[in-house]
Amino acid sequence: MSTTKKIVMVASAVALFVSSLPAMAVAPVSHRSQRQKLSITSNGLNKDGQPIWSSKISVPYRSWIPVEKPSAVLLCVHGLGFSSESFTEFGRRMAGRGFAVYAVDVRGFGEWMKRQGENQVDFEACMLDIESALRTLQKAYPRLPVFLVGESMGGAIALRATSRYPELVSGLIAAVPSSDRYAKLSSELVVGTRYLTGKNKPMNIGPEVMQRATANPKLRAKWEAEPTNRMKMSPKELKQFEDFMKGNQDAAALVANTPVLVFAGFKDKLVKPEGTINLFNELSCQDKLLMIIGDGEHLLLEENQLSDMLATLIVDWVNNEAHSGRPGVRAPQ
């Protein structure tokens, strides 16, 4: 082939490509401007050493940030009666594996208990808190996937948030999110009766919940002694909790494209593993994984209950999903 012919052919190809460029639908990318505004440091801390989103959001939270640039962000939601404190060990270990970990207090728990007028359980307000947190984290870490992590009630909240804001969640990890409890009818009857006699009068659910959740007396004692835990709730709040948990099946059906990892403890005496399996079946997404932990009780992630095996599994799953290139999952760079 002559040189002239080669040049002309290359020119033709270039002309064709350049001419057709504007016809292609290309989404605008605005990452550069966001980064300039936020001036993010490599380890997710601002100039004052605070997490970069600390000044942007009023939801109480705790964070565990790795020294090196994180590969993904985990936003954790605690179970009934606990606070973000319950994720301390989980946060430390996951930060050690390269993830930026944040845990929020659900309305009515943790730091919220000290706030006048906001110290009651409010799931709708909690959903807005989670949405706000997800948006802030996305802005703060524009190139990183954000995963929601929740256990028990926190798992149900995380599931609900994923169904409502799928564009903000790269993946969901839910441990025992089901509402299918053992002795559900009797506890509902007790709550119903108390509701009629005084719906705002607090009742202590601690002894029954702790007895069913774990056979470990040390864990029960720690659970009871922790000042940030709250086991006294009014029948009105417990009814709101029941009503919220009833929406789990619909929320699961609405999760269509987000990858999901679900856990259940085989020795859980509080929430039936079958309930979690049913919820897993209800998930519309194809990319879902269910793990039944043979010696697992109710708590698998919180209160220092994370086993080495489970930690490794979570790290591998998150890293795998983060690099999957799936639509909606932003690959770390």
Binding site: S2, T4, K5, V8, M9, A11, S12, A13, A15, L16, F17, V18, S19, S20, P22, A23, M24, A25, E124, L128, E131, S163, R164, Y165, P166, E167, G247, Q249, D250, A251, A253, L254, A256, N257, S284
Partner: protein, 121 residues
């Protein structure tokens, strides 16, 4: 020499012709709009979920109405999952049914929001 010339001239003409064709094709593509995206019921459902969330936040939908609409969206998702489980992919009829359901929910959202606006005036 004459033989070479005979070979060279058609080649140059061919090159000019290909360049002209390429440039005119580029111009045509520039004028034509970008190809429309294929219809995706997932996108429709996601859009409606965003509308329900926004409606609830702006108080154009009550909590009860928003939850009812989310329940309807969940029913569509279940219907779609059943269709996929049956035939592994959606038929044209399946897509039409799902689109009809999604449109109905969309109409309900707008009707409820309009009612709220009318009440507030």
């Amino acid at each position: 020499m004459n033989e070479l010339k005979r070979k060279y001239i058609p080649l140059r003409e061919l090159s000019i012709l290909s360049l002209t064709v390429a440039m005119s094709l580029g111009t045509v593509l520039k004028v034509l709009p970008a190809p429309a995206k294929p219809i995706n019921t997932d996108e429709g459902q996601a859009k409606l979920m965003r509308e329900v969330n926004a409606g609830q936040q702006s108080h154009q939908l009550t909590l009860k109405e928003a939850n009812r609409l989310r329940k309807d969206l969940a029913q569509v998702a279940r219907k779609k999952a059943k269709m996929l489980a049956k035939n592994r992919k959606l038929s044209v009829e399946d897509v039409a049914k799902l689109k009809s359901d999604v449109n109905e929910i969309s109409e309900n959202i707008h009707r409820l929001e309009l009612e709220k606006r009318a009440q507030s005036h």
